[in-house]
């Protein structure tokens, strides 16, 4: 694959890695206000891609375009393309439900359903028509193991998920994602409501999950982005300022605005 520079500071090295998402000329408006401006960059398979930037820069808006959740906002208007595995997700023929089967999401505030732990995980597969109890049991165990919480909850699967701690609830939400066997997991500040130990457990889990999934994480915590991501995109005022491998981004960024942000000289 040849070196392709889409715009300044979008660092695309030659790689054999597959592209999961390719964003092309994406613009987004909330009414008259433009929230995303000419976004162009690829996201690679089996990597953790962090999106950082100050409040209001468009990072949560961007991540919500990837599963078309942003369209739940009535006044939103979008131009450009987002290719998921080569297909434009904004095509009329593309079904949102199909996309959201493949692209799971974890939110800032853990949001388990007010159901048992078991039913939280089994909910998605049941919606997709799986009724066989043995198969559901296997899916529940596999998903809870995948979220590194099986040992903590295996003896109380029929207790309400609300009885768990915040960190455990968030891992239940991740397990719920895994149950429908997604391809991509979006995480919008998944640890900002959690204590430091729970945060580290989630970070460790993210490192394990990337072997089988592609993960895109919005975070306010730059040290977290530096610790767990392979590539980092820096957004500012709706634009993507720089996109590079994380080690380069945090040791020698190309753009002064990136340098100033990550060194805390502005925020």
């Amino acid at each position: 694959m040849s070196l392709q520079i889409i715009q300044d500071n979008i660092d695309i090295e030659p790689t054999n890695q597959k592209i999961v998402y390719d964003t092309k000329d994406l613009n987004l408006w909330y009414g008259e206000e433009q929230a995303l401006k000419n976004i162009n960059f690829p996201i690679y398979e089996n990597e953790v891609t962090a999106i950082i930037g100050p409040s209001g820069c468009g990072k949560s808006t961007y991540i919500k375009t990837l599963n078309r959740m942003v369209e739940l906002v009535p006044i939103v208007r979008i131009s450009g393309e987002i290719l998921y595995r080569g297909k434009n997700i904004f095509d009329k023929a593309y079904k949102e439900e199909e996309l959201r089967t493949k692209v799971g999401m974890v939110f800032q505030k853990p949001n388990p359903f007010p159901k048992s732990i078991y039913d939280n995980i089994a909910y998605g597969p049941r919606i997709h028509g799986i009724r066989n109890k043995k198969i559901l049991d296997e899916i529940v165990e596999k998903s809870l193991r995948g979220a590194a919480i099986w040992d903590e909850v295996k003896d109380r699967l029929h207790e309400n998920a609300y009885g768990l701690s915040g960190g455990q609830q968030q891992r239940i939400c991740i397990a719920r994602c895994l149950a429908i066997e997604p391809d991509v997991i979006l995480m919008d500040e998944p640890t900002s409501a959690l204590d430091p130990i729970s945060t580290l457990k989630i970070e460790e889990l993210v490192q394990e999950l990337k072997q089988n999934f592609s993960i895109i994480i919005v975070t306010h915590n730059m040290q977290q982005a530096a610790r767990i991501s392979d590539r980092t995109a820096f957004f500012l005022s709706g634009e993507i300022i720089e996109y590079a491998k994380t080690d380069k981004m945090f040791s020698n960024p190309s753009d002064k605005r990136t340098e100033d942000y990550i060194t805390g000289r502005f925020g």
Binding site: M222, N252, G264
Partner: protein, 219 residues
């Protein structure tokens, strides 16, 4: 604009400590060659004792850097400045050790009459000290051009080193009774050449600090 006051103050403190360390090591090298030229045993002993101050400064710098990394989580240019500071302090500590080696050679020579006037060795010392002066200025000003220019003077030092060593080797067969002194003078020459090498290393660290790229200026 958010300002990282604590980090900036500590980075300034790191600079101050490095400048102090370089000044001590410069003095040590100057005095070591003076102690040779005047065969001043007391001065040579002082250099050996005062090396402790350079070592203590290096430890202070190391502790400051560990604290900075642990508490401030520096990245990008801040991190590179800190890493460059760590490497520079290591080179400066070695320069202090080289001055001690020279002083020890002076003690070995003792009060035996010098077999030749000491002219070129002070020249070599002046060149190395001049390089040190320039490189620390390059560090203060983040001046890559000055860092690169300073590293080039190492060739001049190497040339003079070669000349002195050849002269000493030529003396060996004609003055076998002075073999000890000739050997010690050769060691002194080698130590001064290493001072210049360490200064070149410091130029490389400055380029890394500013540009984020590792270069080999010895090549």
């Amino acid at each position: 604009m958010a300002i990282r006051t604590t980090l900036d103050k500590d980075l300034e403190r790191l600079k101050e400590l490095l400048i102090e360390m370089v000044n001590l090591s410069k003095t040590a090298v100057e005095k070591s060659v003076q102690s040779l030229a005047h065969q001043n045993i007391m001065m040579a002993q002082e250099i050996i004792e005062e090396d402790q101050k350079i070592n203590e400064l290096e430890e202070k710098i190391n502790n400051l850097i560990i604290q900075l990394i642990a508490q401030q989580q520096p990245v990008a240019s801040d991190l590179r400045a800190i890493i460059a500071g760590l490497k520079i302090s290591n080179d400066v500590e070695r320069i202090g050790d080289l001055a001690v080696n020279i002083a020890k050679s002076v003690l070995h020579i003792g009060e035996s009459p010098l077999i030749k006037p000491i002219v070129d060795l002070p020249k070599m010392a002046d060149m190395s000290i001049d390089m040190l002066t320039k490189v620390i200025q390059a560090y203060i000003d983040s001046d890559i051009d000055l860092a690169i220019q300073t590293a080039k003077y190492d060739d001049n030092v190497d040339e003079l080193y070669g000349k002195i060593i050849n002269e000493l080797f030529e003396l060996m067969p004609t003055k076998p009774e002075s073999l000890n002194q000739i050997t010690q003078l050769a060691f002194i020459c080698r130590n001064l050449e290493r001072v210049a090498d360490h200064t070149t290393n410091m130029s490389e660290h400055i380029i890394y600090m500013v540009k984020g790229k590792n270069v080999d200026l010895n090549a």
